[in-house]
Every structure is written in structure tokens, then in C-alpha cells.
């Protein structure tokens, strides 16, 4: 069974708190950002995602093309995704706030969606253990 930790994303500043999920020491969001920075190609779009998160944290509406609900396939857990031209960030709504679970490139979306749902299932299972 994995060990999960929630770490507050201090760079998102609003009424809703945003967390990043850490599984067994791996923070998927951070790893994604580091990989993008090393590649250089889509790194600027991380700030676009951060801006979207900040708007949501401040309870402001976003266009549906940029932020929409997303099925987690886990009972009682609602998910969402943030979208930029080339990137996706997936998360869930929780009592604590919004939890960013996983992020990936648009090109890998089908594969990433499976990963996202798998992590959510493990996280919820660990909470119910």
C-alpha cells in the first residue's frame, strides 16, 4: 500500500487551498514541472495552469474549454482537469481543498487519464484502509 502525503501549493493563492499529491515520495506535479523545464518546450504553459488554478482558488469561473469536470470512476470522488494548448492537469475535489493528482501533455492524454484514475483509486483506498 502506497503512502500518500498532501503538500500545499503555496504558489496558488485563494480561498480554496490547492494541494499536490505525493505518493511514496513522488510528487507527480513537481516531476512533471521539472521534466518540462528540462525540455523547455511547454514550460511557459505551467504558468498558464497556475493562473487557472489561482482563478479557481479565488472562486472565479473559467471557460469550459479550460476547466471541466472529469470522471474519476471512483464512487463519491469528483475530478476535474485544467487545460492549456498542450498540457493537462488532473485533480480531485476533496474536503481539504483541491488536490492536483497528476499532469501530462495533451499528446499523452488517454494514457495519463488511466494513470490519473489509478492513482486516485490508490489514494482513496489508502484513506479507507
Amino acid at each position: 500500500m502506497s503512502i500518500f502525503v498532501l503538500d500545499e501549493i503555496n504558489n496558488v493563492n485563494g480561498d480554496i487551498t490547492f494541494y499536490r499529491l505525493i505518493e511514496d515520495g513522488h510528487c507527480y506535479w513537481n516531476e512533471f514541472c521539472i521534466a518540462l523545464e528540462n525540455e523547455g518546450t511547454y514550460y511557459e504553459q505551467v504558468f498558464t495552469l497556475t493562473s487557472q488554478m489561482n482563478d479557481k482558488a479565488k472562486l472565479k469561473s473559467l471557460p469550459e474549454k479550460k476547466h471541466k469536470s472529469f470522471a474519476t470512476h471512483v464512487k463519491g470522488v469528483s475530478g476535474f482537469e485544467f487545460r492549456t494548448k498542450d498540457l493537462r492537469a488532473y485533480g480531485i475535489n476533496a474536503i481539504e481543498g483541491n488536490i492536483i493528482i497528476f499532469a501530462g501533455k495533451k499528446a499523452n492524454q488517454p494514457r495519463d487519464e488511466v494513470k490519473f484514475r489509478s492513482i486516485v483509486r490508490r489514494y482513496i483506498d489508502s484513506k479507507n484502509e
Partner: protein, 158 residues
């Protein structure tokens, strides 16, 4: 890297504000449509623009000229541009974060730490960076509360 960046660095990024402005325009136009009880077709007629142009705005993808932005804003009854000093924006942002933290610390301790409620006991000390907590005495998935005074932190378990 972004996790090493502080909020101030992010607020100085053009991509952050470009996204913010696109979404703010989307919100202003949506509010106008709701207020006037009109749909996209009616809006495009009123603005004398194509439906595609309206769709781009409502998808949060407005990226036309400054002239177009001014025309659009005036057409929906607002004026564009709220120019503030970046230092003022950063200061307000820091104050907002501080007031939020103050509100959290005013709450009961168990609410303050509810996010760590479901961790396994072995992680508790590491998460809180308080090695003096005897984590071996805490059962898995036990609700844990802490006193606010960091010098007298004690785990209440069971």
C-alpha cells in the same frame, strides 16, 4: 524550477497574466450575456462580429489587437485596463495569503491538520518535522490532533 519559485516570481510571468486577462474577459462577456439574457448569436449580432469570434472569447482564447479589445469592452459597457504597480499586486497577494493563514490558525488544531489525518503513523513525525513525536504509539488512520504551541507539540491518539 517552478516549485522553487515563489509567488512573486510567478506574478512576474507574462503567461500568468495573459491567461488571467483572457479568462477575465470571458467572465465579463459571460456576465454581460446573462445580464442581457442573450445567446452567442445575439451577442455576435450586437457586436457586429462573427460567431467564431464570439466563440474564441467564450473559450477564453481572445488574442486580437488592442483596438479590438477596447471595442469589445466598450460594447459590453466596461472599460479595459486596470494598471497597477506590480509591487502593489505582490503586496496585496502576500497580505491575502497572510490573512488566510491567520484564519486557519484561529481554527481548532484538528481542523488545521485535517489534511494529514489519513497518513500512516510512521510518516507523521517526518511530515511535521517534529521528531519528538513518538509515532510508534499512533495507530494507522487514527485521527491526530496537535497543540498550537510548537514547543509543546504533543500527539493525542487513540
Amino acid at each position: 524550477m517552478i516549485q522553487k519559485m515563489n509567488r512573486e516570481d510567478i506574478l512576474k510571468r507574462p503567461a500568468y497574466w495573459f491567461e488571467h486577462e483572457q479568462n477575465e474577459l470571458y467572465r465579463q462577456v459571460t456576465e454581460y450575456m446573462e445580464r442581457e439574457c442573450i445567446n452567442r448569436t445575439e451577442l455576435s449580432k450586437r457586436l457586429n462580429v462573427s460567431k467564431g469570434y464570439v466563440s474564441q472569447i467564450l473559450n477564453g482564447n481572445f488574442n486580437y489587437t488592442l483596438k479590438k479589445l477596447i471595442e469589445l469592452c466598450l460594447a459590453i459597457g466596461i472599460v479595459p485596463g486596470e494598471y497597477r504597480k506590480i509591487e502593489d499586486v505582490i503586496r496585496a497577494d502576500i497580505e491575502f495569503a497572510k490573512s488566510k493563514k491567520d484564519k486557519v490558525s484561529e481554527r481548532k488544531p484538528e481542523i488545521q491538520f485535517q489534511a494529514i489525518e489519513h497518513y500512516k503513523p510512521i510518516d507523521v513525525s517526518a511530515i511535521l518535522n517534529k521528531p519528538n513525536i513518538d509515532s510508534t504509539q499512533i495507530k494507522t488512520n487514527t485521527r491526530i490532533t496537535f497543540t498550537i504551541d510548537p514547543l509543546k507539540t504533543e500527539a493525542v491518539y487513540g
